[in-house]
């Protein structure tokens, strides 16, 4: 029971981070009609920038600048590439983003080289315990920050002009344009928000219990894709639920891996994809999505 609770807590905190990434993925899809595969490298860019800058300017400034760098990169991708290809087939755009992702990723891997980069989290690697249920402090703080950001996001999405412009243009772009809503702006802003969310997720994903910044951080973003897709690619609520589901499933599979050994070692790493496939079998447009993925 203790183990279960412990895994559940870990799963939720991991899931909250997946949800941050998946939310970015979803708003990009809603506003630009792009399935963006740039998230892996954006995440790594965030982690890399924060780690590199920490030595020079200190942890907090590095976090702020790292987030800005990632947001800027997302903005540039949107302005330079996505915005100019507006109206292209969803599949071509997706492949374009894979190309962009590979370019950024290659450069980051070259820069990281064989270094072991660490983000010097002031909260270190200690764990936090209630009775015998444990959670790393990093994950606890991650959960709190992610919960706050997600709440802020949903409030903005519901009530702000940006949220309304975003939802209106996602529903009917031409009519939104007739109202004077500039889709280019809505889309650019969505990319910036997605960049910020990815960088924040990165900040925590490279902390305890995960060791340091390495290209493997990239794989983490890949696990947020199934979160977005199983929730429904065009549903922000779905991204949240999907993120939590994937986080919990992964934590459980890792925690009970001895019992699951017959499925092979490292099973937990593929669990997100298995969960996604299982959900899509029954609901092709995801749990809360309205668009069938076959159209994508």
């Amino acid at each position: 029971m203790t183990q279960f609770l412990s895994l559940l807590l870990n799963g939720i905190s991991l899931g909250a981070l997946y949800a941050l990434i998946a939310l970015g993925f979803v708003i990009i899809f809603k506003s630009s009609e792009v399935v963006s595969f740039t998230h892996g490298s954006l995440l790594l860019l965030g982690a890399y920038s924060i780690a590199r800058l920490s030595d020079a300017i200190g942890f907090l400034p590095a976090v702020v600048v790292g987030i800005l760098i990632t947001a800027l990169a997302a903005f540039v991708i949107e302005r330079l590439i996505i915005n100019r290809l507006r109206g292209a087939a969803v599949i071509s755009l997706a492949i374009v983003t894979i190309g962009v992702d590979i370019i950024i990723l290659t450069e980051l891997i070259r820069r990281i080289g064989s270094d072991i980069l660490n983000v010097p989290h002031p909260w270190g690697g200690e764990s936090f315990r209630i009775g015998s249920v444990g959670l790393s402090q990093n994950r606890l703080i991650a959960f709190i920050v992610a919960a706050l950001l997600i709440a802020l996001f949903f409030v903005a999405f519901k009530y702000s002009n940006w949220g309304i412009a975003m939802r209106a243009s996602a529903e009917d772009g031409e009519t939104a344009a007739l109202m004077g809503i500039r889709q280019g702006r809505v889309s650019a802003l969505a990319w910036v928000v997605a960049g910020v969310l990815a960088a924040v997720a990165a900040l925590f994903l490279v902390g305890s219990p995960t060791p340091g910044v390495s290209p493997t951080a990239y794989a983490v973003a890949l696990r947020a894709f199934p979160a977005a897709i199983l929730g429904g690619l065009d549903s922000t609520g779905g991204a949240l639920v999907g993120g939590l589901l994937i986080g919990i499933a992964e934590a459980m599979a890792a925690g009970y891996q001895d019992q699951l050994l017959f499925l092979g070692r490292g099973f937990s790493a593929v669990v997100p994809f298995i969960v996604m496939i299982a959900v899509l079998m029954f609901r092709p447009s995801g749990l809360f999505g309205t668009k069938e993925l076959t159209r994508v």
């Binding site: 344009a177 109202m179 004077g180 500039r182």
Partner: protein, 261 residues
């Protein structure tokens, strides 16, 4: 205020949707454009509102000016800022947004806060039902209410010229009558209107001037009341049998051409 001169529009470089249309919307007036399906009415509005590009359409020739400003190079957001707002055919309200959010979306191009508040008041005065249902999703409204929401949403941008694309489409006669009254009231409040319709009774009832579009060309034009008495319009739009011997010269001096729809 709106002045269109020998306008030619094509889609994808091939389909000639509008061929040499000239048209004037004088300040403060309601101008109707009649024509059957495919006549080029929507294309005309798209040209004015800057959405032609979204349909791979292109102005090949001619000018479109609003108070002297060239519109051909403007995008939709710029057109809205100039005071031109289009209510699209088929209403196209945001079904997943609430009524209030639909109206907020409509006011998005309106920078001036007090103008926006005024516009909101005007919309709720014109359509009290929208206030009652402000927190409901757009999709739950009836067809007539959706049309009112679509018009209200456009008014939120405080347009100088309101462009309406077949507002009567699919609505019951009683509701069409109401829409006609609303258009007249909006015009009385100082907004000019360009009304595209297939329902000639309603359109000619509220319009000062009217044009008939026939496969991309203007076939008739003139004073709305006089136009409604011509044989062509009687027979083709108003469902009456006009005697063939009657011929009415329209004030613009254009010859009456045979309407072949």
């Amino acid at each position: 205020m709106l002045s269109i001169e020998s306008l030619h529009v094509t889609y994808g470089g091939a389909v000639q949707a509008v061929r040499g249309v000239s048209m004037e919307v004088p300040d403060g007036k309601v101008v109707a454009v009649l024509g059957s399906n495919g006549a080029g009415k929507t294309t005309l509005l798209r040209t004015v509102s800057g959405t032609l590009r979204l349909h791979r359409g292109r102005v090949e020739q001619g000018t479109v000016r609003f108070d002297g400003t060239d519109l051909v190079t403007k995008d939709p957001a710029q057109a809205v800022r100039l005071g031109l707002v289009q209510v699209p055919e088929g209403r196209r309200i945001f079904g997943r947004l609430t009524v209030e959010e639909n109206l907020r979306a409509g006011g998005m191009g309106n920078r001036d806060k007090s103008a926006k508040a005024q516009a909101q008041q005007r919309v709720y005065d014109l359509f009290p039902v929208l206030k009652e249902r402000s927190s409901q999703r757009g999709a739950l409204l009836s067809g007539g209410e959706q049309q009112m929401l679509a018009i209200g949403r456009a008014l939120m941008a405080s347009p100088k010229l309101l462009l309406l694309d077949e507002p009567s489409l699919g609505l019951a006669p009683r509701i069409i009558g109401q829409i006609g009254e609303v258009i007249a009231e909006i015009n009385r409040q100082g907004t000019s209107v360009l009304l595209v319709e297939q329902n000639a009774t309603m359109a000619l009832g509220v319009a000062d001037l009217a044009y008939v579009l026939d496969v991309g060309e203007v076939s008739l034009s003139g004073n709305a009341r006089q136009l409604s008495e011509t044989d062509e319009v009687q027979r083709l739009y108003l469902g009456h049998d006009g005697g063939d011997e009657r011929r009415v010269r329209v004030p613009s001096g254009k010859k009456l051409s045979r309407w072949t729809a």
